[in-house]
């Protein structure tokens, strides 16, 4: 692990931390446009985070240290994930610290901590949120892994950098298995990032919320970290998706600061497209009942498995 590699790593992490709220802002703006609403400012998420940091934290009297530590854990896990996902370059030092499976594990760690924190206070909504979150997670996580496995089978590696390298290296080829995986991945991403049709990030309607129910009791800096972590999660998922399905423009080979900075505009462009697509999906679909979620995610899971099978059947 040399110094320049470390620097590049920090750079990618910094860019990810910076870009993540922007992506959320962009998606919100796109959605507003698509729904013929007046859009909120693009930089609103930054302002929200700053505003939250400035506030006094209010913590319920019944909270244990778990409640306070969780936002930091979640944030740290998401930041680490952002460092690992090859969003800008493939040859980064941390890229090998965790492969696709470990990445999913990292997401799960964040999810578990958030769920535990939600249960900590012993409020009705908190526990409900935690239950629903775990309930979504238990199907989404395998589905995501299936998608990643499909890609792994093609490239013979579970390391995301290697997957990207392999996929980007080849000529444009259509992998039928990746088509399945792509659909599955989209579905999982929606669920994991608390998007319509599984959850609604904008709602506070008690009976339908999942993510919001869990973070209901958080305020100020804790909430800010959670929001930021959520934004990072969206960013990470988007980057994974881009790396798997549009692995172009990512700095391969040597990853010095210049290469990273060179890859950034491409990433922003791809993210803009992705964000638009997400907003489109959210606009076009309706929120489903919570008990339909397993069907939705089960479909995603099955598509992921089908992707693997197709890959094995047709060969990569």
């Amino acid at each position: 692990m040399n110094a320049s590699g470390f620097l590049s790593q920090l750079l990618q992490l910094g860019i990810a931390l910076l870009l993540a709220p922007l992506l959320v802002g962009w998606v919100n703006q796109c959605r507003a446009w698509l729904q013929n609403k007046s859009a909120p400012p693009l930089l609103l998420p930054y302002r929200t985070i700053r505003k939250l940091f400035l506030k006094d934290a209010v913590v319920a009297a019944t909270a244990s240290p778990m409640f306070r530590i969780a936002p930091y854990v979640v944030f740290a896990a998401m930041a680490l994930a952002a460092a690992i996902v090859p969003s800008l370059a493939t040859d980064l030092p941390f890229g090998r610290a965790a492969d696709a499976i470990a990445l999913v594990g990292l997401f799960a760690l964040a999810r578990v901590f958030l769920a535990l924190a939600a249960m900590d206070l012993g409020t009705a909504f908190g526990t409900m949120g935690a239950r629903r979150e775990m309930f979504v997670g238990f199907l989404a996580e395998p589905a995501l892994l299936m998608v990643l496995f499909t890609a792994s089978l093609i490239s013979g590696s579970t390391l995301l950098p290697t997957i990207v390298d392999t996929l980007a290296q080849r000529d444009l080829a259509i992998y039928p298995s990746l088509a399945f995986a792509g659909v599955a991945f989209t579905m999982v991403s929606l669920a994991e990032n608390a998007r319509i049709p599984v959850d609604n990030p904008a709602t506070h309607l008690e009976l339908t919320m999942i993510h919001e129910a869990m973070v209901l009791e958080y305020s100020a800096r804790h909430l800010a970290l959670i929001e930021w972590a959520a934004a990072l999660k969206l960013f990470n998922y988007s980057c994974i998706g881009l790396a798997l399905f549009l692995p172009f423009g990512i700095a391969r080979g040597s990853a010095d600061a210049a290469a990273i900075l060179g890859a950034t505009p491409v990433l922003i462009a791809k993210l803009a497209l992705g964000g638009l697509a997400l907003a489109l999906i959210e606009t076009l679909s309706a929120k489903m009942r919570i008990f339909r979620a397993p069907e939705f995610l089960g479909t995603a899971f099955l598509l992921g498995v089908l992707g693997m099978l197709v890959n094995l059947l047709l060969g990569s």
Binding site: Y72, A102, L312
Partner: protein
Amino acid sequence: MARPRNLFYVGRVLFSAGALVGLLLAAVALVGMNQVPHTAVLPLGLPDLPFHLRLDALSAFFLLLLGAAAAGISIFSAGYFRASDGAAPGLLCLQYHTFLAAMAFVLIADDAFVFMIAWETMALASFFLVTTDHRLPEIRRAGFLYLLIAHIGALSILLCFGVLQGGNGDYTFGSMRSASLRGAWPSIAFLLALAGFGAKAGLLPLHVWLPEAHPAAPSPVSALMSGVMLKTAIYGLLRVTFDLLQGQLWWWGAIALVLGLVTALFGVLFATVQTDMKRLLAYSSIENIGIIVAGIGLAILFKTYGKTLLAAIALTAALYHSLNHAFFKSLLFLATGSVLHATKERSLGKLGGLIHRMPWVAWLALIGTLAIAGLPPLNGFVSEWLLLQAFLFTPSLPQSFINMLVPLAAAALVLAVALAAYVMVKFYGVVFLGRPREPNLAYARDAGRLERVALVWLAAGCVLLGLFPVQVIALLDAVNVLLIGATVYRPEAGWWLLAPIAADRASYSPAIVLVVTVVVLLLTIQVVHRLYHGRLRRGPAWDCGFPSQTSRMQDTAEGFGQPIRQIFEQFFRIERVLPTPFDAEPRYYVKAEDHFWYWLYLPIARAVDWAARRVGAIQQGRISIYLMYSFLTLLALLYFVG
């Protein structure tokens, strides 16, 4: 008879000594891992078959597991057992240490006879431990079921050895290794071993005793049973399949794989709907055993197709998971023991908020919870990661059926692991988090000093096993060499990076994950507090402005499991009592049982009963009829002769 008080102190001293012996055992095993097998013959046993003992890498590994886990559990027991617990402490101590010794003998046995003796002594000692609190009928029932299935399993193992010796009449393992079995015999031996050891391990459909017996036993015993005893079954399966049987068949692997995964899924599904914390952990043990057996199945599969590296990875995963499970499951069972002692309550519906009253137990249990949920950077994740690697790098095997099976199996495994996280969040959240569901939980006291030491030991094991997989795998390679003939340890990848196949194909570095996470976490805390402020106010929970909240409004264990119960409704046999609007005392009751009891066990019991009735009919009480039996026997035999 010594007074219980004296015995209590004796127990304390003896249990501590037992812990030391456990450590010693682990140390010996550690040394023995990489040495040539030691053998010994004791002048006991049958005249033609004295006790043969042997310590090779496989034995040493499991001995290490036994010693390390038992050290923690014994220390815990030293502080745990009290005179008021029903059985005399001296007796308990005797049974406990017999149990430990029997397990150790199982691991170093080198002939069928001493193996069977140790095996059954183990079952017997644990049976008496399970029924410590024998005044409760359900505990007696659990004990009966346990011993019965253990005994049936033992008969199957005995039969397996009978097949293995291949007609030469020599029951030492050494001669079984060299026996050449022909035709279907190896397969029969394997199936018998799978059934016999599966009964002990809790494989479907012989698992029914496990969720009964584990909750019934005192917690250290549950820990020992779940953490260590189940592993002796894994040991036995490995010993028979890889060591005693020469050459395997691919479909054995397929069977073990499918059975393991079905067991894993079954276990975890049932764990989600449990309302008793120890039952929940027991079902979780079924799940983990399923994962381990799936790993073994995969190893067999790969080995038969000559993919030794992958076989070694799968085997490593299975062994690693055994070790991990020994640590985190013991930790969790001991934690439930502390909770049980502090609250006298096992039902999840009556616990909650113990993190405030029992911080030591709660935080240490958190480590176990995260580890068992398979989250990085703890130990549970490493073994599951390894297993998934083995799945993923299945190059196209010659059997297309297997090629299709592997991804499906991977999917099932992932599903089971994900559900495990669900289960563990439920377990931890309901027991330790939230608000106390019963008023008397306010009097709960944290665990004593010895108990804490034990929990710290086991939790440290979970963390260290998670952080240093490369070193652990280096150790495990001795077993791989013995059983598969391949190694997984790649020294060139560095001490911090786990890359079993090739550095560019898969790698994982828990150390980096932990360090980075901790650094980011600390940095964030510092930055946030420096740049802004650290002001904090305490207030009542908001909960969407809902007034007058009570602790009853939290999700119960049933509530938490309800979505899973609903989705997988067909898998459960659900008994439900719903209150009507007019009930004066509304009562809600739901019980999710498994179908096996009704579909498999009861029919068998009925069939035996039917047969017994038929046979009983020959004894009518009339002496003439009895005389006629004698007469007819005589005539028949005479006819036969004449």
